[in-house]
């Protein structure tokens, strides 16, 4: 964190995030029904007045968890506020200011951590709900699993008001002092600096497998370096082909190579660099003791690789699904 706004943030604690708001809609049966259906809540007190009376609630009530829903500004209202943030600072409310300061601290990512609601009593259709939110806490900078960040808690208080509730926002705080509180909500978020993680290395490009060459890669998956052998004349061949260049036979089996050989030629690749590999990348043409040659990776310092070096294969698995021989210097140990 290059910027520290601790003091400015502390000054925001306890401040209202803006003038109290009033719900766009009165508590109403259609929204209650949609909510209950979407939630899969079949409690009859949300649909049936008789059931509500029987339950001692005086009729249909709203699900308590709808508390915040009544006060939400809707998609359009949200967009309006977001477009104003940062463009005109005089329109910033305390919440906007807090978010801007946290962004400036480099805590640009956000995750909601918890939400606690308390309900003073059920809400009934026809009620008008008003809401006031204040910044309750802003934590010091913490180390978290997601990265360094600050937790902030806002406290929202919900009130039942009547038609006399002022349309002038500046008069609403005074009106709420006389209104009945119906519930509260504490909403906690973590604003954090996303950790700079190294881009994951993409998997190695996969070999194209046909009926002719699949055995070779399947053998590697089983830990075996196989060499194709003509069953008619016993000539070994690699890379795989469907027939023997010596005797034309289409019949073949395999032998398992001991993996020993020597470097017949090699390169050290520098460019272009493909993200699946580490560079400089040494690659060798290895003459196996059985007589065939194979192109493979080698774990030898590029500075010291040389034609004629004795090498021995081990089979390494890349990206969990590709096994290839990798040759080490054979020290005779």
């Amino acid at each position: 964190m290059s910027v520290d706004h601790s003091e400015a943030l502390a000054a925001l604690v306890g401040m209202s995030t803006g003038f109290p708001t009033v719900a766009l809609d009165l508590v109403n049966e259609p929204m209650i029904r949609h909510w209950a259906e979407a939630m899969g809540d079949t409690n009859p007190v949300y649909f049936d007045a008789v059931a509500g009376v029987t339950a001692g609630l005086g009729g249909i009530v709203a699900p308590p968890t709808m508390l915040q829903a009544w006060s939400m500004v809707g998609l359009t209202g949200t967009l309006k506020r977001e477009s104003s943030r940062g463009e005109k600072k005089d329109l910033e409310n305390a919440n906007d200011t807090m978010m801007r300061l946290l962004d400036e601290e480099g805590l640009t990512s956000v995750v909601a951590t918890n939400c606690e609601q308390e309900y003073d009593r059920p809400l009934r259709p026809g009620e008008r709900i008003a809401m006031r939110a204040t910044i309750e806490t802003i934590s010091d900078v913490k180390k978290t699993g997601l990265g360094v960040g600050r937790f902030t808690t806002s406290l929202s208080e919900f009130f039942s008001v009547d038609e006399s509730f002022p349309s002038d926002p500046s008069l609403r705080d005074a009106a709420l002092a006389k209104a009945e509180r119906v519930g509260t909500m504490r909403f906690r978020i973590l604003k954090f600096a996303p950790q700079a993680s190294a881009p994951a290395k993409p998997p190695r490009p996969k070999p194209a497998l046909t009926q002719d060459n699949a055995f070779f890669f399947e053998g590697l998956n089983e830990g075996k370096l196989l060499i194709q052998r003509c069953t008619a004349c016993a000539t070994l061949r690699h890379p795989p082909l469907p027939a023997c260049g010596k005797c034309e036979s289409l019949e073949w089996d395999t032998i398992e190579s001991k993996g020993s050989g020597e470097i017949y030629s090699f390169v050290v690749v520098h460019y272009p660099q493909v993200p699946s590999f580490d560079y400089p990348l040494p690659i060798a043409l290895v003459a196996l003791d059985e007589g065939t040659r194979i192109v493979a990776n080698v774990s030898i310092d590029p500075e010291h690789i040389a034609i004629g070096q004795r090498v021995i294969a081990r089979i390494e698995t890349f990206d969990n699904d590709l096994s290839l021989p990798v040759f080490d210097l054979d020290t005779g140990a």
């Binding site: 490009p205 194209a208 030629s265 390169v267 460019y271 493909v274 400089p280």
Partner: protein, 393 residues
């Protein structure tokens, strides 16, 4: 095997090209159309005289689109050749065979691409999807280990050649210096007025050891076209005919596409030996009769191999053969007087054929004095092709 029946019976009568750049700003098809149009004009014929078209299987421009664009009309011969730059002289061979057989009167060979601003060959096959077919199965030995590019494929063979023959990176540099010296006086060359020294070569960064950057050809946007007809018809055309004394293709024992690593030794290009055998037998000429050579130079090492396979020197001795300015203008065997693909442009070998035509016509910018005969080769490390061109003696 006997001499080819069409040897000496056909001729190149027209050449045409676009500018050679790094960003043409136009479609590959438009480049092809421009080059074909220029070659037809250079030949002094009408588009409707063209009866055949040949290109590479790696070319993206359909012959019929070019034919429609230029009002060529009926085609009685069309063909495409595989193996990248190995196709270059092969296109001329196909054209010569077709006109000699009477299948078409005039055949246009062409190659066009935005190989620098578009699909860069130097990037290799890293993005190749593993569709299960034989060409991709071939690459299965190389793609998963990171041997992905033409430079790396050549380098793996070259390391062995250098080790056995005692050739050094400086020896490779002699070829790069000669090409760039020639390009420096060729206004069409990308590296016009930009010669290099051996020190520049040695100081250039590694691409794939043992190859430095300056061992590797450029990537180019451009197009080249060539018109072929019979020697008889050629006599009535504006330019003195450039006779195709021999044209040959070759694939050798243990042949692979760029990765023939399993041959008895890695010290030659057997496919170029197959080409050379036919060229000399059909033309009745030999390496000593050549006044110059256009040798395919996508990467410097295979120029050494070619000098040996064509018989200009013994196996393993090319590193000594090239010394002392022998392959530079004024030397015993000047090569790539246009600057080659390292210096002029990488047109998959087709610009080298055009240079050979200019040399035989006698009006190349870096003209070899008194040149009568010249050998041209196509892409190396792949099944390839070659030409012997001469005056109409």
């Amino acid at each position: 095997m006997s001499a080819h029946s069409f040897a000496g019976e056909t001729a190149i009568v027209g050449i045409g090209a676009t500018e050679f750049s790094k960003d043409s700003g136009r479609s590959e098809l438009r480049l092809a159309v421009e080059a074909v149009k220029a070659a037809i004009a250079d030949a002094g014929i009408k588009p409707s005289d063209v009866g055949g078209m040949v290109t590479y299987s790696s070319d993206t421009n359909p012959d019929v689109d070019i034919a429609r664009s230029l009002g060529i009309g009926d085609l009685t011969f069309f063909s495409r050749i595989h193996y990248g730059g190995g196709a270059a002289c092969g296109t001329v061979q196909q054209a010569a065979l077709a006109v000699h057989a009477g299948v078409a009167d005039y055949v246009v060979c062409y190659r066009a691409f935005n190989e620098r601003s578009g699909n860069r060959f130097g990037a290799g096959v890293q993005g190749r999807a593993p569709m299960p077919n034989a060409e991709n199965a071939h690459l299965a030995s190389y793609i998963p280990v990171g041997l992905l590019t033409p430079a790396s494929w050549v380098a793996l063979a070259a390391q062995r050649y250098m080790h056995v023959n005692g050739a050094t990176s400086e020896d490779l540099g002699v070829i790069a210096v000669a090409d760039r010296k020639h390009a420096a006086t060729n206004p069409k060359a990308w590296f016009y007025e930009q010669p290099i020294t051996l020190e520049d070569h040695q100081n250039s960064r590694w691409i794939v050891e043992p190859l430095h950057l300056l061992d590797c050809c450029q990537e180019t946007d451009g197009a080249q076209a060539i018109v072929v007809t019979t020697k008889e018809r050629a006599k009535d055309l504006p330019h003195a005919p450039v006779v195709i004394q021999a044209a040959a293709q070759g694939s050798g024992a243990g042949q692979d596409m760029m990765t023939s690593y399993y041959r008895d030794d890695l010290l030659g290009l057997p496919e170029m030996s197959v080409v050379a055998r036919q060229l000399w037998e059909s033309s009745g000429m030999g390496p000593d009769d050549m006044d110059a050579a256009i040798l395919y130079d996508h990467f410097t090492p295979y120029v050494l191999y070619q000098l040996e396979e064509l018989g200009f020197c013994k196996k393993g001795e090319a590193k000594d053969f090239i010394k002392g300015g022998r392959i530079e203008l004024g030397g015993d065997l000047p090569i790539n007087m246009h600057g080659g693909q390292l210096g002029e442009a990488y047109l998959h070998g087709m610009n080298g054929i055009a240079e050979a035509v200019r040399q035989v016509r006698g009006h190349a910018v870096n003209q070899v004095d008194g040149l009568e005969r010249i050998v041209v080769t196509a892409g190396t490390g792949v099944p390839t092709s070659g030409l012997v061109l001469s005056h109409d003696a």
